[in-house]
């Protein structure tokens, strides 16, 4: 695509700010149709550069055009591609131009426009979208500069403001707590008792941080071989080991992190059992997470020296406090990013044959 003509910068997009989940699903592009969508975009006469960002929460089209082009053409194309009413598309999308695009992209890249403020996944998604566009030769001088600067702005925002401070996802909060106790997560030996949703979320978080020694146990192993046998599946899914439920008490001292997530009505881990385990690992801390309701671990077990017991209320409270802390930094971050955006826009404008 050409980048030498006089052109203008624009953005059309939808996100959680203007559309609910159903609407976003309707407008969002299926992963396997991105190439086809690009082909159609590139055929639009007058469009110089384009880039499509398509995530589960956001669909955005960035582009530059020359003289007579109207961004309504892109809206019509999107409506036609997704077989939707143009009025629906217009209602559920936002449009930006010029310096507003720069500011918006900076905010998206740094995570302050995300549903989960300060999340870092969006930056990876942006980089991937940019790589795809570069591979297709869909970007030019303006979008290349804009996106590279947005990656720098995101890094600056994360380093110099508190928008990414603390974890807000439950699995990540648990990993952060484990890091504060043991240091290296990849060397923690994790025992999962049960196979609830929280267990799976926590396992994903530990696994993504390099944890290899994952063991799963559950009551369904022993009393009902024809049951769902979810602990087996969970262990298999995360390349972990399985442990017979009848053995877990005597093996407790071998683990650093114990995550209980069962539907049992009675405590499965008592203070006495924890004390017995700690006698075999006196100077090593034990991190117990009780993600069950009703609770599976006796509350008084937290009084044992070197034992750190958390239940889901504790973890949720930490996640919420961290989120509040991030939100308090958003305005400061937004102001700083706006200044950077204006500077970049002035530089882009100053270049010959670039946006008017």
């Amino acid at each position: 695509m050409s980048t030498n003509s006089q052109n203008s910068l624009f953005l059309i997009g939808t996100s959680h700010q203007v559309a609910n989940l159903n609407e976003r699903e309707t407008i969002g592009l299926p992963t396997d149709s991105i190439r086809e969508f690009y082909r159609g975009l590139e055929d639009l006469s007058g469009l110089d550069e384009c880039l499509v960002l398509n995530t589960c929460n956001r669909t955005e089209i960035y582009g530059t055009f020359n003289g007579a082009f109207s961004i309504d053409v892109v809206l019509k194309y999107l409506a036609q591609f997704r077989e939707l009413d143009l009025s629906f598309i217009k209602e559920k999308t936002y449009q930006r131009s010029g310096s507003e695009v720069v500011r918006h992209l900076f905010e998206v890249a740094s995570g302050i426009d995300s549903q989960m403020v300060g999340e870092t996944e969006i930056l990876g998604q942006l980089k991937k979208a940019y790589d795809e566009a570069v591979e297709r030769d869909a970007t030019g001088k303006v979008l290349n500069r804009l996106f590279q600067k947005s990656f720098q702005a995101a890094k600056w925002a994360r380093t110099n403001t508190g928008i990414s401070r603390g974890q807000v996802n439950l699995g990540n909060v648990l990993c952060e707590l484990a890091r504060r106790i043991f240091g290296r997560i990849d060397q923690c030996r994790l025992l999962v008792l049960g196979a609830g949703e929280v267990a799976e979320s926590a396992l994903e978080a530990f696994k993504s941080r390099g944890s290899e020694a994952i063991t799963v146990t559950g009551r369904t192993f022993d009393w009902c071989p024809l049951s769902r046998r979810k602990p087996d599946e969970l262990a298999q899914k995360f390349d972990g080991f399985t442990l017979a439920y009848s053995k877990f008490h005597e093996s407790l001292h071998l683990f650093d992190v114990v995550l209980a997530s069962t539907a049992s009505a009675n405590p499965l881990l008592t203070k006495t059992q924890v004390e017995e385990a700690m006698k075999k690992r006196p100077s090593k801390p034990l991190f117990i997470i009780d993600a069950s309701v009703p609770r599976n671990v006796e509350e008084c077990a937290s009084s044992v020296d070197n034992v750190f017991l958390y239940n889901m209320d504790d973890v949720s409270a930490i996640a919420n406090e961290n989120l509040q802390s991030r939100l308090s930094e958003v305005d400061r971050c937004r102001v700083a990013l706006a200044k950077r955006a204006i500077r970049l826009w002035d530089q882009i404008k100053a270049q010959p044959s670039l946006p008017s």
Binding site: N160, R165, G166, R180, G183, P285, A317
Partner: protein, 291 residues
């Protein structure tokens, strides 16, 4: 304010540590721009340079390692603390450890400079030639005080351990918790510092014992009792930690308590000759000479 005056230099060093402590605490919650990010560490380096210069000048004045009064011993311990921190920082980049060390240096440094009778000019006494007549005693004293510096760092690490533990037990994010090192790393560091500190103190005891067997009249009973008690205290602590009979928060509290005892007993670990010099200059006005 002169850069050749010992007390001025020490005040400047303390101010530098203080500034490092304040900036380090602010930086923990409010990230600085790249230009100022290393400012707390640079201030520690500046403080260390000023403190080294001051101790060097004082060493020239007293003709030996400056360990003759409360100010000198405290400043030497703080100097050793910063040396130990700088060595540890090479392998373990922990900005908050530096901030904590700077905080301790601020408090103890201000205390030692504020109490003027801690800095009696014993070297101005009539007939004074040098602080240590026997180089072995000088070696003994400097190694012993260096080991105090290590025990000071051990106490700092223990304070960090207890802060992290408290933050985890409170089940709240807390002010410092997320920025402190992991519990297990702090416990490992504390154990290693204790082992190295006990090794230095033992070496100092061996060197001191060689002098004591030849000249027992120079060593007071109080000095002997305090020194031996401290050595036994730290040695027992090390044995109990190795055998896993003392660990975690109780271990941390003991290391802090022992260091407080060590600090409080500093005035008792002078040899008799120095005490005599102390008495000799007790009535003379305090004069601080600059070079």
């Amino acid at each position: 304010m002169s850069l050749n005056d010992v007390r001025d230099l020490l005040w400047l060093a303390t101010a530098s540590y203080g500034a490092s402590f304040i900036l380090g605490m602010i930086k923990t919650r409010h990230p600085f721009s790249a230009l100022f990010r290393e400012s707390p560490f640079i201030l520690i380096l500046a403080g260390f340079f000023l403190q080294t210069r001051a101790l060097y000048f004082r060493g020239l004045e007293v003709h030996g390692c400056p360990l003759g009064n409360g100010l000198e011993r405290t400043q030497f311990i703080l100097w050793s603390l910063i040396v130990a921190f700088l060595i540890l920082r090479l392998v373990w980049k922990l900005n908050l450890l530096g901030t904590f060390c700077a905080g301790v240096s601020l408090i103890l440094g201000t205390l030692s400079l504020g109490l003027k009778n801690w800095d009696r000019p014993y070297w101005t006494a009539d007939g004074y030639t040098r602080l240590f007549k026997d180089p072995w005693i000088e070696l003994h004293a400097s190694i012993a005080i260096f080991s105090y510096g290590l025990f000071c760092l051990l106490a700092v690490v223990s304070i960090m351990y207890l802060s992290q533990r408290q933050a985890l037990l409170s089940r709240r994010p807390g002010f410092l918790g997320p920025y402190l090192p992991p519990i297990q790393d702090l416990e490992t560091a504390a154990f290693r510092l204790l082992a190295v500190g006990v090794s230095f103190l033992t070496l100092s005891m061996v060197v001191g014992a060689m002098h004591w067997t030849r000249h027992p009249e120079f060593v007071s009973g109080a000095k002997l009792t305090v020194t031996l008690s401290l050595w036994i205290g730290y040695f027992v602590l090390l044995i109990m930690r190795i055998s896993n009979r003392l660990y975690g928060s109780r271990f941390a509290k003991w290391t802090i308590a022992l260091f407080v005892v060590a600090l409080l007993s500093l005035s008792l670990v002078s040899s008799k000759t120095k005490s005599q010099v102390f008495h000799a200059v007790n009535s003379s006005p305090i004069v601080y000479s600059s070079r």
